[in-house]
Symmetry: C2
Subunit: 196 residues, 2 copies
Amino acid sequence: MSLALDPAAQDLLFREARTANAFTDEPVTEEQVQAIYDLVKFGPTAFNQTPLRIVLVRSAEARERLVPLMAEGNQAKTASAPLVAILAADNEFHEELPKLLPHFPQAKDMFFSERPVREAAAGVNAALQAAYFIVGVRAAGLAAGPMTGFDFAAVQKEFLDDDHSPLMIVNIGKPAEDAWFPRSPRLEYDEVVTTV
Amino acid sequence: MSLALDPAAQDLLFREARTANAFTDEPVTEEQVQAIYDLVKFGPTAFNQTPLRIVLVRSAEARERLVPLMAEGNQAKTASAPLVAILAADNEFHEELPKLLPHFPQAKDMFFSERPVREAAAGVNAALQAAYFIVGVRAAGLAAGPMTGFDFAAVQKEFLDDDHSPLMIVNIGKPAEDAWFPRSPRLEYDEVVTTV
């Protein structure tokens, strides 16, 4: 009763949404991915840096290059998911800052002139955006299967470049029957939240 | 039209929601924070590690200790926000894994026996949960003002401990009039998404 978001939306995004391990054959269209992006691009990041970059693995050839780079337990589902997205952090996001932060263009040089600082910022803020993206996949009525079990260096070499660090790989589609494990427990409020 | 989430919810969570820099005096209740947590705790993390920990700064005494640790441009809004939350990553989250991952309790020792591995995992996954939390604040009809402009080492020393790394500080409340800058631009779909 304390939330403004209607209960159906709560269910769609959090309560009934689950990490899927199996999918139907129904394709995920370009229009759906664009609609997801056009929603979640508004999620906040520090200095509006929005460092998330997304590689959609759509061709059979690219899929064949990706699957062997996944951990064994992730290979079958990555091979069969309707769409696979590689989420990465752009460590050179600062080049876009004058456009992204028009009221404070000097942020680019004041805060992000050093690569290690950029890598740390890009990692955290791309992770925020990865979470918004997962919420957006669910907002599209689809299930996401985010995975970090893969060879990060090999995925970077095969699909990205030195300026883009992989963050996670997400299988996307309509969940099949028996698409998930039983829900694992969550920590209680008092285990997570303290008050001072 | 490609999204299952109804347009009012899209607006509430992403399109009209904004990072607030000023708030009304209306308090944020314990019940609201619990409702936010009880929704966003379901957001996925790797191995269900859920490393996010939250310190609610409610007492005047704690607020007085926090404000001087904020960057100058963040001090006034942090002093006046109805509620301030310190979001942190628990680098010892693995101690909870046997409870959180009952079907795979050996993950604790197989993957997370080394502190640097835990710190990296906790940082990424707490960032995912920080994004879910921001979405949850908006789901409660409130505005979030996430900030990374503060003295991280000093906040850790003053409010956390060696096992908990600060991630961001979030002001929470009903937005005041003129609570935000004009919306900054976002990257176009084709600047972010490539297909292979």
